[in-house]
């Protein structure tokens, strides 16, 4: 049996994602032409041979439940273990009827689940992370260095809202932790941590007894001298989706072959629920350049630098530039869209023009008619 157990946190809302999270949690936001954000972490876990995964839920998780099902997409529909959904239990002591204030509070609420974990090590992850990471290597590095906690981080200087940053010593150990600074400071945490089940349980108990709830503030920053904190620096593609702008820029990067080769590495495929759409049809006179086209689309117009999810219809005379169209979007005759993201089943009526800017892409809410 593989020695890793996965826990994915899906309780934090990301107001920066605006309309994209009106009807769903960040974990189930569509990304990359046919995926949901959580597909990436679940596929990372699957590729590392991990079959036991808990998803800690809170908030508007209906869409996420539909997507996860019994986990068979990631081969996690198992007789023992497999994918376990952990909704908030009606227990006022631990969650007070409000949103979890931090990971430790969320974990305290599912303590009995943690006790039953069959593996020696646990990987904790947020559900807004897009990455294709060899988790088995992270565990090896963790064991090799005798770390208490290994944190995956990136040297990328990009600033992300509400991020955690680390100052690293030359040997890779973490010497200082910065929670939500106003400017980047050193390596940015990808909020992906590996630690032993024993340590996790003792941290949950210790913090619950002391009214502490934040993993990064109370454990990483608070115990930085006491625990051996190691970094695992990932220099490949990684996106933490916390604002529409971040979402848009990171999506558009997928049009670069080198980024796709990294994120969709054949050795570690990204698995998504089957959409049951037929192949896409590009009509005579259509014009499609530098774009990702999922299945089930019908294209008669002109499409450049776009990402089309399954079942999108682009009628004649349409000019789509730098746009992201979610599943079932229908763009009628003669429409012009630039720097626009349309959510699922949006219809843009004939002749309309919507022009955003890369610094502020227009997002059209799910099911709207423009």
């Amino acid at each position: 049996m593989n020695g890793l157990h996965g826990i994915i946190f899906s309780y934090e809302q990301e107001p920066g994602l605006r309309e994209l999270v009106e009807h769903r949690m960040p974990a189930s936001v569509p990304f990359g032409g046919r995926y949901r954000v959580v597909d990436f972490m679940l596929s990372n876990l699957h590729a590392a041979g991990i079959t036991d995964v808990g998803v800690v839920l809170h908030g508007n998780y209906q869409s996420l439940l539909d997507h996860l099902g019994n986990g068979k997409t990631w081969d996690m529909a198992r007789k023992y273990g497999g994918l376990r959904l952990l909704p908030p239990f009606a227990d006022n002591r631990t969650y007070r009827g409000g949103v979890f204030r931090g990971k430790l509070e969320a974990l305290a609420g599912v303590r009995s689940y943690l006790e039953d974990i069959r593996q020696d090590h646990v990987v904790l992850s947020d559900s807004d992370l897009i990455i294709n990471l060899p988790l088995a290597d992270v565990l090896s590095a963790h064991l090799e260095r005798g770390a208490d906690i290994t944190a995956v981080c990136t040297a990328s200087g990009a600033f992300v809202d509400n991020a955690t940053y680390f100052t690293l010593a030359p040997d890779g150990s973490i010497t200082q932790v910065w929670c939500a600074p106003t400017a980047p400071r050193g390596h940015r945490s990808l909020e992906l941590y590996v630690l032993s089940r024993e340590l996790l349980l003792s941290l949950v108990d210790e913090c619950a007894a002391q009214e502490k709830y934040s993993f990064r503030r109370d454990v990483l920053a608070g115990m930085c001298g006491k625990l051996r904190l190691q970094s695992y620096v990932w220099d490949g593609y990684a996106a933490q989706l916390r604002s529409v702008r971040e979402y848009y820029e990171r999506s558009m990067e997928l049009l670069r072959p080198s980024i796709r080769a990294e994120l969709f590495a054949p050795a570690r495929p990204i698995l998504a629920k089957e959409d049951d759409e037929a192949s896409s049809y590009l009509a005579p006179g259509s014009h499609v350049k530098n774009s990702l086209i999922a299945d089930g689309c019908t294209i008669e117009g002109s499409v450049e630098n776009c990402i089309l999810f399954p079942g999108v219809t682009v009628e004649r005379g349409v000019e789509l530039r730098d746009a992201i169209l979610f599943k079932g979007t229908r763009v009628r005759d003669g429409v012009t869209l630039r720097h626009v993201i349309t959510d699922k089943y949006v219809e843009v009526l004939p002749g309309r023009t919507l022009i955003g800017h890369e610094s502020y892409p227009i997002v059209v809410s799910k099911g709207s008619i423009v």
Binding site: G32, G33, R34, K72, L255, P257, R260, F264, P269, I270, L271, A272, E274, D276, E277, A278, S279, S280, Y281, L282, A283, P284, G285, S286, V288, K289, N290, S291, L292, I293, A294, D295, G296, T298, I307, L308, F309
Partner: protein, 402 residues
Amino acid sequence: MKKECIAMLLAGGQGSRLYVLTENMAKPAVPFGGKFRIIDFPLSNCANSGIDTIGVLTQYRPLELNRYIGNGQPWDLDRADGGVHILPPYQSAGGATWFKGTANAIYQNIGFVDMYEPDYVLILSGDHIYKMDYAALLAHHKHTHADCTIAVMEVPWDEASRFGIMNVDSEDTITEFEEKPKEPKSNLASMGIYIFTWKKLREYLIADEKDPASSNDFGKNIIPAMLGAGEKLSAYRFEGYWKDVGTLDSLWDANMDMLAQGSGLNLLDKDWPIYARVESEPPAYLDETAEVAHSVITRGTVVEGGVHNSVLSQCCTVAEGAQVEYSILMPGAVVERGAKVSYAILGERARVGENARVGASPEDTPPEDWGITVVGPEAEVKAGHVLGADRMLNREGKETVR
């Protein structure tokens, strides 16, 4: 547990007229229409018609087919009771025999059918492209109190002599069956889709097996025997798209029908979805230099060159400067830089090397020399090589004229 109606899908055919495409797989496993395989059509029709128990009779090179069907999950046929079952020929106390004919294949699996105690059995074949509601066919069968109902469709009179033709009375009761008649009296062609009342069929299968002269075939033996004995056989008229894709030409034609608006074959229609088992791949990518028009593309495909009037399955590559026209690229086919592919079928993972030429347009070729060119699965056309019209290449590099 008892089921009202179960389906038996005849999927053992070699499909020898598909030549290199079926050297290593059974015909029903041959890719079709970008994302699908031929067998997806009867399986999806069953799923959409509420038939949840299917026996798939395999014989010729079943490996690919078995792997593809698996537990039946893509077609929602992974059921606790019923579901899809692969039925290979098996050894009995009296020795092992291959399926001698279509009727013998069902005869050998009477035990399987009996397990579900069905009132009716639907017999399907794995080489047709069509969307049909079998529930309507069953309702017709029950309504007419027939012993056997045969799905038929009107074909052009000048083509009728290529089909099994049903002559019917005013109530569409079948009075006569003629296999490929020289002078057809009707243009109602059998589609090879039958519903039998199981009790009746069971009797006729056992009787047919005892006749050493019989070729144990539904069309040749069972149907004529039932007609001769005065059983009630009814014709069910089907309107809509239907094509037998048993030959390279008809397979190419049916794929091209996806592009023709008036053909009646609309796979993007959401009301009657066709399901498939497909790997999870990122969306197709068309780069700055791609020129794609009047074509079908599927996930995982990357196009840098020109693609016109063609069907591209998943994970195909058309490199920069390559041209593909009037062709079918099966999953994983690769056309390298500067190569040109016209009026051709490229099998799974076939590769056309740089600047190679495959196939030719009928305008550039004398009619007697022209035909669809076929590169078999895993076959490679070497860089700069010319594989002319009407030729075939297999994975061992053997080139033949069709």
